[in-house]
Symmetry: C2
Amino acid sequence: MIDTILLNHGSGRGLDELLHTVILPEIGIDSAAPLEDAAVFTLPQGRCAFTTDSFVIRPLEFPGGDIGKLSVCGTINDLAMVGATPHSISVAMIIEEGLDVALLRRILRSIRHESKAAGVSIQCGDTKVVDRGKADGIFIATSGIGIVPPGRNLSVANAGSGDAVVLSGPIGLHGIAVLSAREGLNFASTVVSDCASLHRCAEALLRASPHTRTMRDATRGGCAAVLNEIAEASGVTIMVCENAIPVPPEVVGACSYLGLDPLQVANEGRFVAIVPAEEAEAAVTACRTVEHGGGACIIGTVEPRGRVAVLLETAIGSRRVVDVPSGDLLPRIC
Amino acid sequence: MIDTILLNHGSGRGLDELLHTVILPEIGIDSAAPLEDAAVFTLPQGRCAFTTDSFVIRPLEFPGGDIGKLSVCGTINDLAMVGATPHSISVAMIIEEGLDVALLRRILRSIRHESKAAGVSIQCGDTKVVDRGKADGIFIATSGIGIVPPGRNLSVANAGSGDAVVLSGPIGLHGIAVLSAREGLNFASTVVSDCASLHRCAEALLRASPHTRTMRDATRGGCAAVLNEIAEASGVTIMVCENAIPVPPEVVGACSYLGLDPLQVANEGRFVAIVPAEEAEAAVTACRTVEHGGGACIIGTVEPRGRVAVLLETAIGSRRVVDVPSGDLLPRIC
């Protein structure tokens, strides 16, 4: 029985034991089958989407998820945002000597559960162990392959004047949940991260709004970062309406207490879509019929490029610039 | 000008600056093009090979390479070992606050150089920054996609009695080079790592020996680990001949000084192939015509399963078991 990860588990018989008694069984891979240097499989027809992300979140577990769930959702969402159907993922783990194996098992079970629920197969993986004090528990890097159906050509540069801005649900929950867990802050109620796989919601939106210009999940830097990226890449100004943006009361409270702008707080289960105005209602209605899209709404419009990239019409009718934070409001949020 | 990585470079405008002034230009990606959440491209016909690896080597630079070159070669080699033509890679970096940007630039240039030389495109990437003391300079996770030509079905479980064991070149150079660089050991001459992309050599071998059973690059655990993996998965005994195994004199010297077995020392540019006896000469000849295959030779034979997995016939005619090290001889060798 391995209770704690030792440097010894990074190679040779130690790694073999870790793989066959902990990693493969918990992640749900047949540990009797031979392990090849690469997985080989047939992809469905279509263009290939490919993405990668590493996850360094602290703490490793938080209300609504853990680094395992986050790593699967994050990669699935990046595929979903280009209109791809997620197909396969890889999981590479860098583990610090001393990691509690009970915690590792919980993380691996989250990876298994989330990938299974999403219908994505874990095709390959890698495990490294580094000396105590040279990492922070565990880092996970996931990559994903998806298939893009014909005719879909989404790009952050495709937004145009007159388009509508759709948001898939209430914002700020991931950032506040992680911050609360990290700092031991107690707000009135426990804030639960929105961490979720969005491919089904994205697919519903794309079917209802086939001329969608771009979609982007609002992770690091929150909605503010995503809206600025789209506005800059497309050469437009995006105008969003504060009254239209759903911010849960617990996020409002925490942000006002901490001096944060909810638009800059990270999400892990929300996306922004830019759609033609005439398809916007259908897009919202479609999102609302599926999981993680129940709070979808129209939050603004795309206008010809003005002086600034993103403007917010506040609840009291004034306008302010929505800027990108200069650095991390909250380091290691994902 | 960014001289040193700060936590601030992990998000928002700080990340944007790091990406556009350092990472994208050095890695050779057009930094004016919009960055999407995932790359979308058309793969050539054929089955898809998919692999991932993370690299935690210490020191980050060593004679013959650095973590950047290693991360590209390692992933290309895993694809090559299943008979795939490498097509695309992803690069995810976890950077410790305080990393010298001059060093980061050298690493990025190595990634660019090695991927370009190998004809593989860098399709996507990710950058995270963690606080000082929570990583070790930089960790890199790469994933790769390749295309497997029809009719190739290599597997570590396919070795059969009567097959020949081919080794692509002299062993032990990577491990000894890294150990020397790490510990400041001075051997008579500088030992240079064998770190290299092996897809062209593997392709040459597969064309000359179309019934090749399996190939595996001899990284962590060296040839000893690979031979044991093949023998166990295939239910055979592998007999190798000490006199036939090329070990450079500087590796012999270092191993005898340090009490290491050259068969257990890691390589990053050598592979073992199991081929039908009648194709073995052609396989060796083909390897010798291409880069990184000049030292190819036949080192043994596959026999029906006996009491042990791998046996070595020593130079003096005795036999000893070739075992897998119980843990890391040398932690963080890749």
